[in-house]
Assembly symmetry: C2
Homo-oligomer: 303 residues x 2
């Protein structure tokens, strides 16, 4: 069995690759370049190229049994700055990928969407997969469009498709430039003795999931044959203030954040209902938040 | 007051322009070229250009109080043939339009979406506007993405936006190449003594609305200041077989259709709930199906 991991050098992708290697399958990574924090891994076939280069992507599909599509050219913050680029660099190349999968006859696709943005302001918390999709930012709008195309190509061309909607993943190898996840960003600022700023009053609730738990669901989905849409969350929510408290405990530092005005981009409360993934893939998040933050802190101090 | 009608030379656009002229406002049309079935109208300012040319579109925005966006580069059939072009030619230029409206400070936008495709297979008939959006074809997927961007730009940049979701419009000046609406297509085949073919058993139910009724809602929305999303349908559904019966009555011809296998692209039943447009715009469809088909038949015979 050969698995193609699009975006395999990225944050979640690198953990997916680790688990695929442990499962002893052939792993091909397509990404812009090598991982940021590690050397090339033995046993992985690397293809470096641009996801927008449809010929390169189609070449990468050869002899693959499953595609794990984890590429995202944007994060919510950058997508908001340039919605045109968001569509051009994420949606268009994904349609080209789907066209390529039809031509090359790759039978299965796992697509990593976004449980934190596709639902918009949730009417029900925890939010189940069949909740209406009413995204309020460009990142979520594009994710919804991609999901719709994935499902359409699956139905029309007999590709077995899985969509995974992670909540807020965090953990080792996440970028910490301030654009992705607060846990990595805040830990990095604590490490550098920099002040921590919070948008709003810290009451915004998110569902933080350790990256290895997300990666494990991706791999189970890749190895399975069941199609569908599955949330991947921790099963519970933490406020930003609770996260700060956990960071104090883990780092032993007396953190005193500054509170800034809230952002329109923030959904007030987002916690995912993960009963579908539990039932269908016998999957369970196993790393609790304190443990996950501790592992991330350890990784960051050893960088 | 100056109204810019993007797609003002098209089927629905031409009727919108008629009604705007009757209401004595300044009308600017932006389209690829003049109308197909009529000469240029006196009193209309025509700008001919490509909707994908964002500079031309931004120039067209100058000194406008309202934009009516009725451009669609595809219909459901052609969108399915080339989803990449569907995104490139409809979604990307609409985002550029929204960016342009922010820069030029045009305060109001009316966007013509698609009530027949955005809901997918409806869970409730008649379908209300807050029904989940689960489009099953490319045309609907792109319409949903555009709607989401329209709403997002409206919220983030203070543009007052109205989205109108027409069911199945028909009437004079509709193309009748077989790609758009069955009423025009069938009438044209009857006129030319050609056989009529029906996909499926003729039980597919649609909500056919006379084009002038849709145009009237577009104009009320353009003149109003209320934002929101509004279905535009007839309030009831007709099966393809009922349409054929109406065509027999109107044309006096003994039509014997051939039945072909059904298409995956067809939602089995689509009728819109129009109570919102009734309540908010004091709007009501006034042309019954028999009368509308008769008006369309008369127009076609005089071509």
């Amino acid at each position: 069995m050969r698995v193609l991991v699009l975006g395999g050098s990225g944050f979640i992708g690198s953990h997916v690759v680790d688990q695929l290697l442990a499962a002893d399958v052939k792993v091909r990574v397509f990404d812009r370049g090598p991982e940021r924090y590690r050397e090339k891994l033995p046993g992985v076939e690397y293809l470096f190229g641009d996801f927008r280069d449809s010929v390169a992507v189609i070449e990468a599909l050869a002899d693959c049994d499953v595609v794990l599509h984890l590429v995202t050219a944007t994060v919510p913050g950058t997508a908001a700055m340039d919605p045109l680029a968001d569509v051009r660099d994420n949606l268009l190349p994904t349609i080209a990928l789907l066209e390529g999968m039809v031509k090359v006859k790759v039978p299965r696709l796992v697509y990593l969407s976004s449980g934190g943005t596709v639902y918009g302001v949730p009417e029900a918390v925890p939010t189940p997969e069949n909740h209406p999709l009413r995204p309020i930012n460009s990142y979520g709008i594009v994710k919804v469009a991609i999901e719709n195309y994935v499902t359409m190509y699956g139905r029309e061309h007999g590709i077995s498709t899985v969509i995974i909607r992670p909540s807020n993943p965090y953990g080792p190898r996440q970028g910490h430039t301030g654009l992705q996840g607060i846990i990595g960003t805040f830990l990095n600022r604590i490490l550098n003795d920099e002040a921590i700023q919070i948008w709003g009053d810290g009451s915004v609730v998110r569902d933080y999931i350790y990256v290895e738990d997300v990666a494990r669901l991706c791999c189970r989905a890749a190895f399975g044959d069941r199609p569908g849409v599955y949330n991947a969350g921790s099963g519970s929510g933490l406020s930003v203030n609770e996260i700060v408290e956990a960071l104090r405990d883990v780092t032993g530092k007396d953190i005193q954040p500054t509170y800034l005005p809230g952002r329109a981009i923030d959904v007030p409360r987002s916690v995912l209902d993960i009963s579908q993934a539990r039932a269908e893939f016998d999957w369970e998040p196993v790393v609790a938040s304190r443990e996950g933050i501790d592992l991330t802190w350890k990784w960051m101090r050893e960088l």
